[in-house]
Amino acid sequence: MSENSGFLQLSHICRTYQDDENEIEALQNINLEVFRGEFVSLIGASGCGKTTTLRLIAGLDKPQAGHIYLEGSEITGTDPKRGFVFQQGALFDWLTVEDNIAAGLKARHIYRRNKEKVQQFINMTGLTGFEKAFPHQISGGMAQRVAIARGLINAPEILLLDEPMGALDSFTRAALQDKLRELQKISRTTMILVTHDVDEAIYLSDRIVIMTPRPGRISEIITVKIPKPRQRGGVEFLELRRELLEKFELASAKPQPEYVI
């Protein structure tokens, strides 16, 4: 399989949820190709199926119609090859930072051979000195870095991130975005990020997938051509930002909204 023909392929994905009375079309005919090493953001109004898409790729959920392929083989269940970072981190409260990060290695019984990797990821995510801390003792930003390190230690081919910075203040968020960019540069992991933050999407992504709700569909895919590393206040950056916000018909309403929700 060549580098350029879809590393990850979603073809004709449909997913409906049965509520008490009505059916909700969370996803309707989703087609998407993601290339190896690419950084893709999913962005769109609440309820447009971003989380559902990630869960399907992770194998936590199954589509009613359509298929998802990773390197040509169909996804049927979870696999450490596809990492996932949950919005609230979903850390194991009873494990220290170190043990949380090592969890993937231990779960796969390959911890002994890879012990030094743990410290490596601790250092890479800037958690040095907090190895023995428990999740309740660290800040929200640190907890998300633990979650990201935990997701990356299994060396996944693709890392799925569901609003990992949703609950953070803007300073912590910017720092974590830099960290994430750096980590992607080092590991060359393909990443799909769900976010509500247009700036975040532009800052990190190679492509931005805009989704619309009811039914959940992809409305547009924008390629970000600005060379990395990007300047948050750069001319091209602001231009693209305005363009994106216009697409959400919010740019005119408020001059400079922080995020689009």
Partner: protein
């Protein structure tokens, strides 16, 4: 620290006010410190004083009532029960003095010690009154309320026998509690993890669980080969129920997301059970331990009082037959010490095992 330092504007020192304040604050902090130490010493003295009064009372108040002050020979020395009682009081005073000195080094311990001072003082006074009412003048109904010296005399009279029975109780407790918690955690995991097991076993657990374990005594005594194993069975039953149902609850309440996270990390079913569900259920498991610990004490003593060849409950029964109520009290004293020791130990283990949870609970 006191903050009520004021400058007197009429004294013409207003300019130096700030400098002075800093210095005054330093001095006052020092005074405060000295003041605190002085107060703390008073607390130590207060703590010991009650026991000192009890000791002096025992020594100087004449024996009016006709009580036989038994004398025992231990290692060539002659002890009567009053000597014994005074040694115990003296030991208590030394312990509290040392405790006071050691606690003084740490703010938290010092506060606790100071807080307990009044209570401990009154404890000494109660001992004094008890000694007078129970032994010296014997105003209390006899033979039901013997004085403290007589109660402690039981240890002189048959210390080794009491010790032997204590060991029996301890052994019964340890075996019963260990098997009960092991079986309890095991069934709790099965009930919490497999819906089918939950469906079939949980109602049974609930129905049998509310029955006090000693109700099974007749069956236990006939079905088990030895009285010891019958008592173990009863303790196992009473420990099993709370541990199993709380373990199951803890496991069932594990957030789905944690299982999903573990699966994605590559964890199999056994990882999900033993590295996610069980640790998540640990707080509940320990709360089950706490409950069943109390049940186990009750069941233990009841079982011993109803047909065991040993144990503190058995010793109580035996003493009651001879109307030796001072021995009953002695056994109760041993139980109080033993059971609080076990409870404290269990609590320490819990604090250690749940240290990841501290702060989350607030």
């Amino acid at each position: 620290m006191k903050k009520d330092i004021k400058c007197n504007p009429s004294s013409g020192q207003a300019d130096f006010c700030i400098q002075n304040e800093i210095e005054k604050e330093k001095i006052s902090a020092k005074e405060d410190q000295e003041d605190k130490i002085g107060k703390y010493w008073k607390k130590i003295i207060l703590t010991i004083f009650g026991f000192l009064l009890a000791l002096l009372g025992n020594y100087f108040i004449p024996q009016k009532a006709a009580v036989e002050i038994a004398v025992y020979r231990i290692g060539g020395l002659h002890f009567d029960i009053n000597d014994n009682y005074r040694i115990v009081l003296l030991a208590l005073m030394i312990c509290f003095l040392l405790d006071g000195i050691i606690s003084g080094k740490n703010e938290k311990n010092r506060k606790h010690y100071a807080h307990m001072a009044a209570f401990r003082f009154v404890l000494g006074i109660v001992l004094l009154i008890w000694d007078i009412g129970g032994t010296k003048l014997q105003i209390f109904t006899q033979p039901f309320f013997p004085g403290p010296a007589q109660i402690l005399g039981a240890f002189l009279e048959e210390g080794p026998f009491i010790f032997q029975n204590t060991l029996y109780s301890l052994r019964l407790y340890a075996v019963g509690f260990f098997i009960g918690t092991t079986v309890g955690i095991g069934t709790g995991i099965l009930i919490g993890w497999f819906p089918t097991v939950y469906y079939w076993v949980h109602p049974v657990l609930h129905m049998t669980g509310i029955i006090p374990a000693v109700a099974w005594m007749p069956f236990a005594l006939t079905l088990f080969p030895t009285p010891f194993s019958a008592a173990v069975f009863l303790i196992v039953i009473c420990v099993w129920f709370p541990v199993a149902s709380l373990t199951a609850m803890g496991i069932k309440s594990t957030p789905k997301q944690l299982f999903e996270a573990a699966r994605i990390l590559g964890g199999g079913n056994s990882y999900l059970v033993f590295h996610v569900a069980v640790p998540h259920a640990l707080p509940e498991i320990f709360s089950g331990f706490g409950t069943s610990n109390a049940f186990a004490f009750t069941t233990l003593v009841m079982a011993e009082m109803m047909g065991q060849p040993g144990g503190l409950g058995y010793y109580i029964n035996l003493s009651q037959v001879w109307s030796a109520y001072y021995k009953v009290f002695a056994a109760i004293l041993v139980m109080a010490i033993l059971f609080s020791f076990i409870t404290v130990l269990l609590h320490a283990v819990e604090l250690r095992a749940l240290r990841w949870q501290r702060g989350l609970l607030k």
